[in-house]
């Protein structure tokens, strides 16, 4: 691969940027879009950009969306670039999703699970008909309310765990790997795989998850539980020596319950896949749980035959910032490369012609 330095584009680049800024603003007779409006009214885009940008900051994500004219991968790229300018103070205590302040919680395996099912602000039962009333800015009534129940909502994995018919969580105090500090190496442990999936491209992870359902490494999944809501975040600063609560994050968690297995020594029990993402990102959390389970094939003694079970394939291609970089680098001048290929083809053609 060779590149050649080319000068002379400076004025064109300035003009392109100038036009871009004007295009971003659009027709000046239309009011400009505020970052607060994006943050409030395009919440699913903000959540997706935070998840794939791997940085939880709704205001910055909204700004990135505005700057990128709604190109969400470009916006995630902007967040990834911004985070490199900040020092890292600490890491949090692992968030406890069992104490999540639930805004949505559903289970496809138990109708009457303890704590009940809450639909939350979902699109699931909408008819996917365009709502023309949104063309006019009609005022919207605040949503209905009801007396909140104080019943606790154990995770469905903990409910099944009491019977011992699902594999338990195996806690470990080992320091987890961090893709932002050490580059990917193989074999990649589950902590690193989960980090890669959590920041991976939603479309890629969704496609991979879908492929497992269509028979490429199927694991007979049930949506054990999906929950979304706020969790508090705690850190332990060295100067204080005790943990403090620094704020709340909205997270979506998916517990996938998968095909059971057993052996002579271990009674049959269900296996699990896990998904956890920033914001309200149910599709992503579910797909992540499917792919997490698929990538556990080797650990669970299954044949590794399908793309979603191939850890290297999934992890090397899940990151849309990296993928964008390599695909789009093809736009860079390859004049010398191409000249040499051109000469080769011409020479070969000339040889062929003389032979004829």
């Amino acid at each position: 691969m060779a590149y050649v330095a080319v000068k002379g584009g400076e004025r064109a680049i300035d003009a392109a940027h100038g036009w871009l800024a004007a295009e971003r603003r659009g027709d000046p007779s239309i009011p400009p879009l505020g970052v607060a409006q994006i943050q409030q009214q395009l919440g699913r885009s903000v959540d997706r950009v935070m998840a794939e940008g791997s940085l939880y900051d709704p205001q910055l994500a909204a700004l990135a969306i505005k700057q990128a004219q709604g190109d969400l991968i470009e916006a995630a790229f902007l967040l990834r670039a911004f985070r490199t300018t900040l020092p890292r103070f600490a890491h949090t205590k692992p968030v406890d999703t069992a104490t999540m302040r639930i805004e949505r919680r559903i289970s496809a395996i138990f109708k009457d699970l303890p704590g009940g099912q809450l639909l939350g602000p979902t699109y699931d039962y909408t008819h996917r008909l365009l709502d023309f009333s949104l063309l006019d800015d009609a005022t919207v009534a605040p949503g209905p309310i009801a007396a909140a129940d104080t019943e606790t909502m154990p995770r469905v994995s903990d409910v099944l765990g009491q019977e011992g018919i699902i594999e338990p969580d195996t806690a470990s105090e080992q320091e987890p790997g961090d893709l932002t500090r050490e580059s990917l190496s193989f074999p990649a442990s589950r902590d690193v795989r989960l980090q890669a999936l959590a920041r991976g491209d939603e479309g890629f992870v969704l496609g991979m998850g879908y492929s497992t359902q269509r028979g490429y490494g199927g694991s007979h999944p049930f949506a054990g539980e999906i929950r979304m809501g706020e969790v508090s975040v705690e850190i332990e600063p060295a100067e204080l020596g005790f943990t403090i609560d620094i704020g709340d994050l909205v997270l979506t968690e998916c517990q996938m319950v998968n095909q059971f297995k057993g052996s002579k020594t271990v009674s049959p029990r269900f296996t699990r896949g896990y998904g956890l993402v920033f914001g309200f990102g149910e599709r992503k959390a579910m797909a992540m749980a499917l792919v997490d389970r698929a990538m556990r094939a080797e650990e669970l003694g299954e044949d590794v035959t399908a793309p979603a079970q191939n850890v290297e394939f999934v992890l090397y291609h899940s990151d849309n910032i990296e993928a964008t970089g390599f695909v789009e680098h093809l736009k860079l001048p390859h004049y010398v490369d191409f000249q040499s290929e051109l000469q080769n083809v011409r020479r070969m053609r000339a040889k062929q012609e003389t032979a004829e």
Binding site: L55, T92, A98, G177, D178, F242, R272, F278
Partner: protein
């Protein structure tokens, strides 16, 4: 609160969620406030948020969040710290100052009543409002029960 540490953890968690303008207004009512030196910050940075595989298993790095921290020392020598979500430097500084003031036994009660409790009530109210909206979407499965009887 049963001990000084958990009391401090509670007010720090309330301060971490306080809105800047509200906190500033509540503090202004506590005038005169002592002079203070900023020992560190306010500076924006990151913390790496961790989750657990399966919800209760081994920790993994989920992604980062923005945090702003600040530490101040009052002229009377009290040191207050703040770590607050987001990038609002003024909020972190006011939270650190309030933390320091809360450590002054002569001020604790007044601040508790006039700053911390009102902020906490506001935060609780917001949580309750969201919980009430979520509760309205609880599925009752009434049809199933009717069919059985």
């Amino acid at each position: 609160m049963d001990n000084p540490r958990s009391a401090r953890q509670r007010w720090m968690s309330v301060l971490a969620r306080a809105e800047t303008d509200r906190l500033r207004a509540l503090l202004e009512d506590q005038a005169p406030l002592p002079e203070y030196t900023v020992l560190r910050g306010p500076e924006a940075g990151l913390v790496m948020v961790r989750g657990r595989a399966g919800g209760g298993g081994a920790a993994f790095n989920l992604g980062e969040m923005t945090v702003t921290r600040c530490t101040v020392r009052t002229e009377t020598g009290l040191i207050g710290h703040a770590y607050v979500q987001g990038r609002d430097e003024k909020r972190a500084e006011l939270a650190a100052l309030t933390d320091a003031l809360m450590l002054d036994p002569g001020r604790t009660d007044a601040l508790e009543r006039q700053v911390i409790t009102p902020l906490e009530c506001q935060q609780e109210q917001r949580k309750e409002e969201r919980a009430a909206k979520a509760a309205a979407t609880r599925v009752q499965f009434l049809a199933m029960q009717t069919m059985r009887t």
